[in-house]
């Protein structure tokens, strides 16, 4: 019997056995059930610095249909860049007014536009549905300047450019010329 084992106890077989054992041990270690523990509380350090709330003035239509109704809101955006802040602002504007005496200028379920920041200018790439709306010149001016004034409230923004599907836009919705960027001067 011993003679039988001695015959198999070669250095090669020993090394091979050790290797197989090592592999089995590694596999067991990988698949072992994890112990259930209690997650440590998230500390301020783990969360990172708190992003400050963005204070906005949102411009909607007043009920008379000729003036603006302005609402102040605090929002938190997905990021710190101007693009993030502008995107969050437009999405908040799209939610429409909450106070009495103000009217939304677009349906609340409208698809959001593409929002890009280019230096001190915000570029809005509007979906087709936005530019195909018809509301008449008076309401369209409120729509153009409502968005413009809202976005010009962001720090460092001086002009708003409207595009549609990535191309220059002749008019916002049939009347208001959008061939050049809007500035605060025009929408007073």
């Amino acid at each position: 019997m011993l003679k039988f084992f001695a015959r198999w106890l070669t250095p090669f077989n020993i090394i091979a056995l050790l290797f197989l054992g090592g592999v089995a041990t590694f596999r067991w270690f990988q698949e072992r059930p994890l112990a259930i523990g209690v997650a440590p509380e998230i500390t301020e350090f783990m969360r990172g610095p708190q992003r400050p709330a963005l204070n906005l003035k949102l411009y909607f239509a007043a009920v008379d249909g000729r003036n603006f109704a302005i609402e102040s809101r605090n929002i938190r955006t997905d990021g710190e860049t101007l693009g993030h802040r502008a995107d969050g602002t437009v999405r908040e504007w799209l939610k429409g007014p909450t106070a009495q005496g103000a009217l939304p200028l677009l349906p609340r379920d409208s698809a959001p536009p593409g929002v890009f920041a280019r230096k001190d200018s915000i570029v809005l790439d509007l979906p087709k549905s936005w530019v195909q709306r018809r509301m008449g010149r008076t309401a369209e001016w409120l729509y153009a300047c409502g968005l413009t004034n809202t976005l010009l409230g962001l720090e460092g923004v001086t002009s708003i450019t409207f595009l549609s599907e990535g191309k220059p836009l002749e008019t916002l919705a049939g009347h208001v010329s959008t061939r050049t960027p809007f500035t605060a001067q025009e929408c007073k």
């Binding site: 249909g65 009217l103 008449g136 010149r137």
Partner: protein, 515 residues
Amino acid sequence: MKPIFVISRLILSALLVGVTALVFAQPSSKLLRVGGLSLRAVFPAGTQVAYADASDLAVALGLQLQVSQGAVTLVQGGRILRITLLENVASAANYGWGLYVNGSNQRGQAAGYQAGQLLLPVRTVANGLEATLADDASGLVFNVPAAKLQTVRSDTSGEGDRVVFEFTRDVGFTARLDGQDAVLNFPAASGDEVNYEVGGAFVKTVEVRRGQSVLEARVPLANGVGFSTYARPAANGVPARVVLNVSSSFTRPEVKLQDRQVKVVLDPAGGGADAGVSASGLREKDLMLSFARLIGKRLATSGVQVRYTRNGDANVSLSERKQASLSSDVFISLSLVGLNGSSGSGSTIMTLAPDAARDGLLAKARAALETETDESRRRLLSDVVAVGGASALLAEPIQNRLLALAKPPEASSTTNPPANGQTPTVSEPAIPGLSVQSLVVSREAVLEMAPKAAALIELGWLSSDTDRVWLSNPESMRLLAETIAEGVLEYLAPVLNNALTGPKPTSKPKTTGKP
């Protein structure tokens, strides 16, 4: 590798490099100098044909411009250029016979649109005017040779006198009454300073003087007589002629028969797939079309030429609307508002701020008209553009007349009850609930290219219960349309008084005047 393959590859590579270099070497635009103005000539992709903005070129050359379906017409005195108009400027550049000069077909490229802008082939226009187009290092130079006054002929009779100015080539001109004299100005014309004796009952002499780039003919008229003018093109050896008719039958001080009729362009919003603002079964595109037709019908009865940007349920692009506005004396766009939940109502007349014209040349021409002191140049410019305040002058009578519909006929009738104690009779306004305001706006795209008086009338709010009552009432709409038409006529009154009268010439000149 065989030498033949190497050589063919080399040739192909050289060709590719050459073509690429050619494409990039072709300038996309060049400076174009025309009559003292600097314009921009563009080269549509893949062509070497210079094109320039139609209205800019017409203004720079002092030509009348008319755009119709399939053709652009330019008028210089008796010379009428008709250039075929295609949708795409790239295909227009390859067009071979796009020019008609006084009805005769000639070689030339067609006109076309590029990104909504109407472009004219510069060389074709130069050929049509028998002008030269030079290409030097600084750009293109468009040079119209001066027309030379050859002679002045006259024809006298008991009914009237006629003075005929004969030129070596077609010439633009303006005519005006200066005191007792008829004064004809021929810009860019040359000629000797001469006094002619006519000896007619109404015209005794003709005095020709040279001014700065203008030849002036002064014709003293007998008391109480008026005059008319018209031009005949040079043809078959007959020189170009400008004819002055003087007769006691002309009751107006001045009539220019070659002038086009006063034209009002009406632009109903929407059309085709674009229904515009809608509410309660009412659609902007239907209401505004029928409303425009009512206004047009009233204007036409007063002798005004009326055109519509659409006269049916058709899609009309913004660029087509702008093109239509180019040739208008008055351009009126008609639309409605709709904002759900709003209490807004009433009519708004909007005009562009005088400095809001997007077209730079239009703004320059307006500024020139406002500052020009030379009467002949003023008249030339006023054929093409109106002063910046013209739109405000149009809006005022329209607003005043609409306001009259909004007020009760006798406002005081409700203040003092009758002595017999009965309930006072309350006078209803013609359109109950109507309010009217006018606004000066910016960025109204459809008004941006209109060279003369232009307004957007937002007639009412489809979201307003009050407005929907009269917007859906045919009688109210007829009354509103007629009121607006009356306002337009009030604005046009001075123009109409001068342009719509005067007999046409009937006989040819017989005698020659003596210098």
